[in-house]
C-alpha cells in the first residue's frame, strides 16, 4: 500500500521535474541557425565536389593529365582527356568532367593526385531538379573563375 502512494508521489514528481526542464529550456535562446538568412562557414577540410587548381604562373590548370584520379575513383565519375598541342611536349588538359550524381565524396581522387591539381570546393548549395546540372565541366568552371 505504501508502495502505491510512493509511486504516485514519485511519478508526479518526475512529471513536474520534466515540465520544469522544458519550461526552463523554453526561456533560453534558440540554438538554430536561420538558414538561408544565416549560413555557416565550411571548415578547411570540407569536402564539396572537386575543383581544378590553377597554376599561379601560367594561369592554366595544374593538371598534367596523368589519369590517376580517374583510375582511383571507385564509382568512375571522372572523365579526363588531354589534347596534344603542337609545340608542347606534354599533354594539355582538354576535358575534365565530373559526374557528381555518382560521386561519393570519398576523396580518393584528391589523394591520388601527385601534382596537387584538384581540391575540394566549399560549395554545398547544389540542389537542382535537373540531372544535367550535376555533370560538371570542371575545366569550364576554371575558365569562368578567371
Amino acid at each position: 500500500m505504501s508502495g502505491y502512494f510512493a509511486e504516485i508521489f514519485s511519478g508526479t514528481k518526475s512529471l513536474a521535474i520534466g515540465m520544469g526542464i522544458t519550461f526552463k529550456y523554453m526561456l533560453k535562446p534558440v540554438v538554430t541557425v536561420q538558414y538561408p538568412y544565416e549560413t555557416l562557414k565550411m571548415p578547411e577540410r570540407y569536402r564539396g565536389h572537386i575543383e581544378l587548381v590553377k597554376d599561379p604562373e601560367t594561369g592554366e590548370a595544374k593538371c598534367i593529365v596523368c589519369g590517376m584520379c580517374q583510375r582511383a575513383c571507385p564509382s568512375g565519375c571522372i572523365t579526363v582527356a588531354g589534347d596534344k598541342r603542337e609545340g608542347e611536349k606534354k599533354k594539355v588538359l582538354g576535358k575534365y568532367v565530373l559526374n557528381f550524381t555518382t560521386c561519393s565524396l570519398c576523396g580518393s581522387c584528391v589523394e591520388s593526385c601527385k601534382s596537387g591539381a584538384i581540391k575540394f570546393s566549399k560549395e554545398y548549395n547544389l540542389a537542382s531538379t535537373r540531372k544535367e546540372d550535376y555533370i560538371l565541366d570542371l575545366l569550364q568552371r576554371l575558365k569562368e573563375q578567371r
Partner: protein, 335 residues
C-alpha cells in the same frame, strides 16, 4: 438604447462563438508550434507575417483549397458525418460557458450537465471516423479512443459530482459567483469544503486531457504507432474539422477547469472581475497542456486504463465520500 431582442442576441453570440472556436483552433496551432519551437530551442513559424502570425491563415487556406481525397471502400455516410460530429458538439458546449458575468450566450441552470452531454457525443465522431475509414490503423485508433473516453468519463464525472455537492448548483455562472472575493475563495483552495481539493483539480485536469485525446494520452492518433489514427484517411478540410474539433475540446476542457476550480472570471485579489481574468486563466491552462505535450512520451492503452481504474477512480471516490462527510460534519462542529 434598448438591449437587443433575445433571438438577435443569441444569433450574435452564436456567430461570435463560432469565430472564437475557429480563431482558437487556428491560433492555438500557432501557439503550439511556437511553444514547441522554443521548448526545443528553435524559433517555430516565422516566415509568414510578423512572428509567423499569419501562418494559421495560410494553413487554413491550404486546407480549404486542398483536394478532398475520399478513398474507395469507405462507408460513405459515416466517413462524411464523422468530422462534423466531432466539431459541432464542441462548439455547442461554448453556449453555456460564462466568459464573464454577463458575457454568456445562454445562462441555463443545467449548463454543466449540458457540456457533459455534448462531450460524450464527440467520442462518437472518433468511432465513426475510424470505423468509416475502413483502414486497419483507423479502426485500432477508434477502438482505443472509445475505451479511453469511457474510462475517463467516470473519474471526471465523480469529481464533478463532488463539485456539485459543494456548490449545490449546475449553473456555471452561479459556481463562479460563489468563488468571489480573492484567490482563497477559489474552489481549488477551498480547504474547508474538502481538504483534497487540489487532488480533485488534478484528477479533473488529467481527465479532461484524456477526454480530448491530448498528449500524453493521444492514443487515438499515436503517430508513431498508428500513422495518424482515426483521421489517417482524411485530407483537406475533413482533416481540418477534426483538427478544429480537437482544439475546441481543449478550450472547453480548460474552460471547465477554470470555471470549476480557478474562479472563472473572478480576480485573484477581488478587484475588477471580468472576461480578461477568465481568458488569462484559460490560456495559462492551455499553455500547460501544450507544455505537457512537448515534454512527455505517450502512455499506452493499458497504462492509461491502469491510471484511470487504479488511481484516478479510487481517489475520486474517496474524495466524493470525504466531501459528503465534510458536508455533514462541518456544520456539526461549527454550527
Amino acid at each position: 438604447m434598448n438591449p437587443p431582442s433575445e433571438p438577435i442576441r443569441l444569433l450574435a453570440f452564436l456567430i461570435g462563438l463560432i469565430i472564437f472556436a475557429a480563431l482558437n483552433a487556428a491560433y492555438l496551432v500557432w501557439l503550439e508550434r511556437k511553444v514547441a519551437g522554443h521548448v526545443q530551442r528553435r524559433i517555430g513559424p516565422k516566415e509568414v507575417g510578423p512572428f509567423g502570425l499569419l501562418q494559421p491563415l495560410v494553413d487554413g487556406i491550404k486546407l480549404m483549397t486542398k483536394q478532398i481525397l475520399v478513398p474507395d471502400h469507405i462507408d460513405p455516410i459515416l466517413f462524411r458525418i464523422a468530422p462534423p460530429l466531432l466539431l459541432i458538439p464542441a462548439v455547442m458546449s461554448f453556449v453555456t460557458i460564462p466568459f464573464s458575468e454577463t458575457l454568456v450566450a445562454r445562462d441555463i441552470n443545467l449548463g454543466l450537465l449540458m457540456i457533459f452531454a455534448f462531450a460524450s457525443i464527440n467520442v462518437l465522431g472518433i468511432l465513426l471516423g475510424g470505423w468509416g475509414s475502413n483502414n486497419k490503423y483507423a479502426v485500432i485508433a477508434a477502438a482505443r479512443g472509445v475505451s479511453q473516453n469511457v474510462a475517463y468519463e467516470i473519474p471526471m464525472l465523480i469529481t464533478v459530482i463532488t463539485m456539485v455537492m459543494i456548490t449545490h448548483t449546475l449553473n456555471l455562472n452561479e459556481i463562479v459567483r460563489q468563488q468571489a472575493g480573492g484567490i482563497f475563495n477559489w474552489y481549488i483552495f477551498r480547504w474547508s469544503a474538502n481538504p483534497l481539493m487540489l487532488v480533485s483539480f488534478l484528477i479533473f485536469f488529467t481527465c479532461s486531457m484524456a477526454e480530448t485525446n491530448r498528449a500524453p494520452f493521444d492514443l487515438g492518433e499515436a503517430e508513431s504507432e498508428l500513422v495518424a489514427g482515426y483521421h489517417t484517411e482524411y485530407s483537406g478540410m475533413g482533416f481540418g474539422l477534426f483538427f478544429m474539433g480537437e482544439y475546441a475540446n481543449i478550450v472547453i476542457g480548460c474552460s471547465l477547469a477554470t470555471l470549476l476550480f480557478l474562479g472563472g472570471w473572478q480576480c485573484p485579489f477581488g478587484l475588477w472581475p471580468g472576461v480578461h481574468w477568465f481568458l488569462i486563466k484559460l490560456y495559462l491552462l492551455i499553455f500547460t497542456v501544450i507544455l505537457i505535450r512537448w515534454t512527455f512520451p505517450r502512455t499506452t492503452i493499458y497504462g492509461l486504463l491502469n491510471l484511470s481504474w487504479k488511481i484516478l477512480i479510487p481517489f475520486a471516490l474517496f474524495n466524493l465520500i470525504l466531501t459528503g462527510a465534510m458536508l455533514k460534519i462541518w456544520p456539526l462542529i461549527f454550527p
